[in-house]
């Protein structure tokens, strides 16, 4: 009896496989197989986004380090301006990296050491005074380093530049701390980039559809970044979306320099747009276009339209988000809502089309 069943099953399975070999049957997909499409996408992400973006960030950090060492040797207005310029350039390139919290970056908690704001002035001052920087390895001191710490050190020590310069001239501790922070940013970034040269192979070969495969993790990271790093950190939290009606100008990105918060947000918007559309190569957009049901065939353009609306809305804000919040925070609330409409699209329609296992939800279904 058992033998009969086994034989029958075998015949049945053979039948199914032979059917599946039929070339003439209508296929809803493009000629490339799903595997091929996924691996094209992963290669595009690794080689045209992740690696070059980390490299350009690292280059900018090296230039910044140089300006800082010049400034530390001879603190003056021109050198301070150069440091500030280098900081902004590096900060802009950071916007193209923040969403890639995957692999070596995730393992080393790299992101938490680069851009947690608002920065902790108390912690910074404590470390500056003590000269012992080992606490920076611990998570409570995440907000005492990275770009937000530099923001404070370059703009926040005093209202006017000459006092800032004299602080550095007089107090070697500030010079040391400044050098320490850029050093750590460089070594942390180099470490991640170095590891990526090995990790890349794993990354692009993990093309299956599981919660831990690269495309799924990266898509989740992308959505998470849009929702948290972009939507909440840059807009929602400062405008008080999550707190009972209080506005928090001091929680905007680059609070001390004040004039660049919009610039950084627009760079981030651009990074999101580029990543989604793939910059001419295989991306989430192509994947959506190939797999969307008829009802959802407009989804990728709908998402792009929403990105455009968000961009336009951000452009309409004051270049200094602190001013915006102090004069007309409701306008920023509107921008938040436009961005939020994008979150809804990404987290419902896009996930429905992509059919990827979201996050690490590990449970049986039925």
């Amino acid at each position: 009896m058992i033998k009969k069943i086994l034989a029958l099953s075998f015949i049945f399975i053979c039948f199914f496989i032979s059917c599946s070999g039929d070339g003439d049957s209508e296929s809803s997909q493009s000629s490339a197989t799903v595997w091929e499409q996924k691996s094209q996408m992963l290669e595009n992400w690794a080689d045209n986004f992740i690696l070059p973006n980390y490299e350009s960030l690292l280059d900018n950090l090296f230039s910044l380090e140089e300006s800082i060492s010049v400034f530390n040797n001879n603190p003056n207005q021109q050198h301070l301006d150069n440091v500030r310029y280098g900081w902004l350039e590096a900060y802009k390139s950071w916007q193209y990296v923040e969403m890639f919290n995957i692999g070596p970056a995730e393992q080393t908690f790299y992101h938490l050491k680069m851009n947690v704001f608002p920065t902790s002035v108390v912690n910074i001052e404590q470390l500056v005074a003590s000269g012992d920087y080992s606490p920076l390895d611990n998570s409570p001191y995440n907000s005492a380093q990275g770009f937000p710490a530099l923001d404070y050190l370059l703009y926040g020590l005093s209202e006017n530049d000459s006092e800032i310069i004299s602080t550095y001239t007089i107090n070697v501790n500030y010079r040391n701390y400044l050098a320490e922070i850029i050093q750590r940013m460089i070594s942390n970034t180099s470490y991640v980039l170095d590891q990526w040269s090995n990790y890349r192979t794993n990354f692009i070969s993990s093309t299956e559809n599981t919660a831990t495969s690269s495309a799924n993790k990266m898509t989740n990271d992308f959505i998470y970044y849009y929702e948290k790093g972009f939507r909440a950190n840059k807009f929602g939290i400062p405008v008080g979306v999550f707190s009972a009606g209080n506005v928090f100008p001091e929680k905007v990105e680059a609070y001390y320099s004040q004039n660049v918060s919009r610039t950084l947000a627009l760079e981030a918007m651009n990074a999101i747009d580029l990543f989604f559309n793939g910059n001419g190569s295989y991306s989430l957009k192509q994947f959506i276009d190939n797999f969307a049901t008829d009802e959802m065939s407009n989804l990728s353009s709908e998402i792009n339209d929403q990105f455009d609306l968000a961009r336009t809305s951000i452009e309409g804000l004051d270049q200094n988000f602190v001013n915006q919040l102090n004069t007309d925070f409701l306008q920023m609330g509107i921008t938040y809502d436009v961005i939020q409409a994008g979150t809804v699209l990404l987290k419902t329609d896009m996930l429905s089309v992509l059919q990827i296992a979201t996050d690490y939800v590990d449970a049986d279904g039925d």
Binding site: E26, Q29, N209, F242, G245, E295, M296, K347, Q355, D366
Partner: protein, 457 residues
């Protein structure tokens, strides 16, 4: 009519059927429990969450925290005892109670096959499944070769209900006319060897699977009942459930259904299975003293009427409950009013995204509740598209903020859901203060009606 019933109730069948069923059930439950534990789900589902979603009417069920492990240990011990047929009646009662208690702790993990296990263990309480090939029969020095036929038939009936209703539910426009949601799911299974890249990518395959699945569910009970088609039926059971086991993360369900289907086979087959099982045991038994067991013919209940009435009511409820959805005017797949406990499996692909706004009614200030840390990912995922859970969580948020000193508040939900690949629609009326609404069996008017119409059962 009545005499027919009486004749039927006097019919008997081989007790080996129940013994084999008991052993399979015990072993499967043992494995399920150990598997659940080994995946650390006891922690992530029952211990870790700060808040548990409760079934309506069962809000009094307390989560036991770390003591949930004890509940699982009890279930494991009971499974072993059930397998051995030792203190059977007590162990199946305790198993039913502890297993059901576990399921009632957290609603977001509702699965039809857990519900099936609860129901099955309830039915098993009333069946003499340890009347042969059990330690009980050795201890009592009594074994019965026959049991009333209605005992095995009640297991069959439960399975027939499950299959038939599952099939009925598949008769809807999405499943049959659009091959949804299989059309969405199958292309994403490209990583399954051999068939993933080829077979599963074709649209005609999605239709074949949809129609095949519906026909399978509707006909399989009859194929198994009829002696002449039983072999082909069981072969289909094997094929269907193993195939779905490969395709979907459905845990133990396929194996439970496959082994349960054995109950449809005749007594000879079961006698053979028991002979097979006896072989390794007899090697061990030779060393001990042979026990003389009195061999009796038919097991007789002390109070058969009470048990028959209990089971009759039970099955009546089972037959009626899946149809309760007709009492609600809303689109069933969208609102899920009357969706659970009805053997609706694999019918919808849903993704939801729900955020909550808190309004301070004294000041008019509105803010979004940052609730990501309050729920686990599994809970968030499930809550986001199920209205009763959204309501329950809204009340939890209300209590939370009241404790924070905000007494006069309203809670609103911004909820969007995609259903079977259609673009997202707003799910909950965002202007309704959910704190003003209490859970009930009444139609939820605060669910925005779905703009699409899905026809069928």
């Amino acid at each position: 009519m009545i005499s027919n019933i009486n004749i039927y109730l006097k019919k008997s069948t081989e007790s080996s059927k129940l013994a084999v069923f008991r052993i399979c059930f015990g072993l499967l439950m043992l494995y399920s429990m150990v598997r659940f534990w080994s995946k650390n789900w006891i922690h992530t589902i029952y211990v870790e969450p700060k808040f548990h979603f409760k079934y309506y009417g069962f809000e009094w069920i307390q989560s036991l925290g770390s003591f949930t492990y004890a509940l699982f240990i009890i279930c494991i011990i009971c499974s072993i005892l059930i397998t051995l047929g030792l203190w059977y009646r007590l162990s199946i009662i305790v198993f039913f109670l502890s297993f059901t208690y576990i399921e009632l702790i957290e609603k977001t993990t509702y699965l039809n096959h857990y519900y099936f296990v609860s129901l099955l263990s309830f039915v098993l309480i009333f069946l003499p499944a340890s009347s042969c090939f059990s330690i009980d029969s050795i201890l009592k020095k009594k074994q019965y070769s026959q049991v009333p036929k209605w005992t095995t038939d009640s297991i069959k009936l439960l399975m027939i209900i499950v299959y038939f209703y599952a099939g009925l539910a598949k008769i809807n426009s999405d499943w049959l006319l659009e091959a949804l949601p299989l059309k969405i799911w199958m292309p994403s299974k490209y990583d399954i060897p051999l068939i993933g890249e080829t077979f599963l990518q074709y649209e005609w395959v999605h239709y074949l699977m949809s129609w095949g699945g519906m026909l399978y569910d509707l006909t399989i009970p009859f194929l198994l009942l009829n002696k002449r088609t039983r072999m082909i039926g069981f072969f289909l059971v094997l094929f269907f459930h193993l195939f779905t086991a490969i395709l979907f993360p459905i845990g133990m369900f396929p194996y439970i259904m496959i082994l349960s289907a054995l109950v449809f086979f005749d007594g000879q087959t079961h006698d053979k299975i028991i002979k097979l099982l006896k072989r390794p045991i007899s090697v061990f038994m030779k060393k001990s003293k042979a026990v003389i067991i009195e061999k009796l013919s038919t097991f007789e209940y002390k109070r058969p009427k009470l048990i028959l009435i209990t089971l009759a009511i039970f099955f009546l409820v089972q037959i009626v409950v899946p149809f309760r959805y007709v009492l609600y005017p809303s689109e069933l797949f969208w609102s899920e009013e009357g969706y659970r406990f009805s053997w609706r499996v694999m019918l919808v692909e849903k993704i939801g995204y729900t955020t909550f706004k808190i309004k301070n009614k004294d000041t008019g200030v509105i803010f979004e509740a940052p609730c990501t840390n309050m729920l686990t990912k599994v809970q968030t995922k499930q809550m986001s598209f199920q209205a009763d859970m959204i309501l329950e969580f809204a009340h939890y948020l209300g209590d939370y903020y009241k404790k924070q000193g905000l007494h006069n508040i309203a809670v609103f939900a911004n909820s969007y859901v995609t259903l079977n690949g259609r673009p997202k629609e707003q799910f909950i009326d965002p202007s309704i203060d959910l704190l003003s609404i209490e859970e009930s069996f009444k139609h939820k008017v605060w669910i925005i009606p779905y703009k699409y119409d899905i026809k069928g059962f």
